[in-house]
Amino acid sequence: MLEYALIAGLVFGLYFCLVGLGLNLVFGVMRIVNLAHGDFLMLGAFGAFWLFNLVGLNPVGTAFLVFAVFTALGLPLYYLLVPRLQRAKDPEMLSIILFFGLSQVIEALATIVFGPSERSIPGRVFGTGPVHILGQSLPAAWVVSAIASGVAVLFIYVYLYRTRLGYLTRAVMVHREEALATGIDVDRVSAIAFGIGLALAAIAGVFAPFMLGSVNPSMGVDINIQSFAVIVVGSLGNPLGTILGGIVYGISLTFMQTYFSSWANLLPYVLLIFILLVRPSGLLGREVRSA
């Protein structure tokens, strides 16, 4: 029991890390809260469903495809919404409402196009039979999803810490105005980060049918809360803190489900409030000087 909860927790932790990562990247770079995050995840999930059913594309292939499509979608969306928002008086607060509106639009369009029913992809696309890890057997789909999440996280690490664009992105995260003053094209850097953030959500969506159960157009709200729990535990605005947050969240979730199953649904909310009150900067956060 204990070993199973630990290992399944790690597998889910890696996946939840991917679920939260895009939201955190967008918040870190632009200081805006993308409440439509869960809806982009939902779109990724429906992409995987339709591509699998129509052309039989394996979800791993879909993951690469949605990455390209959503990054390309994110760029124009950024220029349409964000620069205008950031000229307002309180962009952080207004962003919650603006992206709530966007999430309503996406949810409505998805309901109109896909219909409100639950959809799922059979787990056997990744081969039948469980995978054995340290004596515990896990569904193959879980392991593939966890590996894909690990690869995506690694990609973000390389992007942020090993490329010139990532260097500029981190500069914008630390101080937007100073980055602007040193001549960095803040809008371009932010737009790319925004696109990558959406793409990460969509990739997480591709694996959602295996990790979160069946998908439907209104699943976004729940995902948002879970993503917030993950990134607040790690540290809001620090994409790598999300790895820790995801693993803490995943392991606590499987432990709750194993030992106190009827209270497991409370976990994200309680964890979120507890961390916000006790250590608002998150487990890996730096002290922030205010005023």
């Binding site: 809260v33 919404l81 205008r84 928002l85 307002a88 008086k89 309180d90 952080e92 607060m93 207004l94 962003s95 919650i96 409402i97 603006l98 709530f100 509106g101 966007l102 999430s103 309503q104 639009v105 996406i106 949810e107 409505a108 369009l109 309901t111 109109i112 709200v221 809360i225 917030f228 729990a229 607040v232 809001l236 009827s262 209270w263 649904n265 409370l266 994200p268 909310y269 309680v270 979120l272 409030i273 916000l276 009150l277 608002p280 005023a291």
Partner: protein
């Protein structure tokens, strides 16, 4: 004429009169009741968001606490509805007190934590282990005290009191000090305002409003499930209505409810997804082009709106 009297005559009197008299000429009382509920909730959001700047994304938590405080004291203690309403209000205030530490957070952090708090309350109420007490997922049935006419009248009284409170905040030193805290808490503290006390008071007032109207809602519908009274639609509708009209005014939330909830009832019930689409686009357009709400248009034309 003093400013507060003019504001009362222009806003509170016509709205309350319409809410009180329309049931005599219009048969769909449930629709009118829902309007009263949203008029009240939008003003409740106005008190905490408009005047103090905290965005209560989990405002429905207080509404649900009021509904359950009311229902459980009717079911288990066999209280009279009006006394039970007091318990509902007390439950909401208690939850508000429990959540006061959240006021230390700011901006998005507060909104998210508040949303999480309301979902946590929902999970507790609907938890299968507590079915004995809360009836869990089976929901509540209060057929013994069912009395829609009286419940409607009480709701109108609560609406009148809430509108009165907003007029007071709009025209009083206390309301002004809340707005000063919202704009710059440190300077407000320097000017001698007790920031923590004022904020907490506004927060509890706003919780009280939602708790009272939640209790009346439970009384009026008398059969409901936990997901009915904890539906995040209540928080979101109330916030959007208030914002659409313009917060920190009395008129704004009223206009927002009448226009948007009117549209919702015209097209939202038959084709909810098209309403959701229009609604989402409206919200986005509002934030991008008119972030201070409809009434800011009047202000731009130099008209003083209550």
């Amino acid at each position: 004429m003093p400013r507060w009297l003019r504001h009362t005559l222009l806003t509170v009197v016509p709205v309350v009169a319409a809410a009180g008299l329309l049931p005599f000429g219009y048969s769909n009382q449930l629709l009118l009741f829902n309007f009263v509920v949203f008029l009240t909730l939008a003003q409740g959001v106005n008190v905490i968001y408009g005047f103090t700047g905290y965005l209560p994304f989990g405002y429905v938590g207080f509404f649900g606490a009021g509904a359950y405080g009311f229902s459980l004291s009717v079911l288990h203690l066999h209280m009279a509805p009006l006394a039970a309403l007091g318990v509902g209000a007390a439950a909401a205030i208690l939850l508000g007190l429990l959540l006061t530490p959240l006021l230390r957070l700011s901006g998005a952090y507060f909104a998210i934590a508040n949303l999480a708090a309301s979902l946590a309350v929902y999970q507790v109420v609907s938890n299968p282990n507590l079915t004995e007490i809360t009836k869990g997922h089976y929901g509540i049935s209060l057929s013994g005290v069912f009395n829609p006419t009286l419940a409607y009248s009480v709701a109108v009284v609560i609406l009148a009191a809430t509108l009165g409170l907003t007029v007071y905040l709009r025209n009083s030193r206390f309301g002004l000090s809340l707005q000063a805290i919202r704009d710059d808490a440190i300077s407000a503290g320097m000017a001698g305002i007790d920031v923590v006390r004022a904020r907490t008071l506004a927060w509890l007032l706003s919780a009280l409003i939602a708790g009272l109207i939640g209790g009346v809602f439970a009384w009026y519908v008398s059969v409901f499930y936990p997901e009915t009274v904890f539906s995040s639609e209540f928080s979101i509708f109330a916030i959007v209505f208030a914002l659409f009209g313009g917060v920190a005014t009395v008129t704004g939330p009223i206009l927002g409810v009448i226009i948007l909830y009117g549209v919702y009832n015209a097209i939202g019930i038959s084709t909810p997804q098209y309403f959701q689409l229009i609604y989402g686009l409206l919200i986005m357009g509002l934030v991008l082009f008119l972030p201070s709400g409809l009434v800011s248009l009047f202000k731009r034309w130099g008209i003083d709106v209550p």
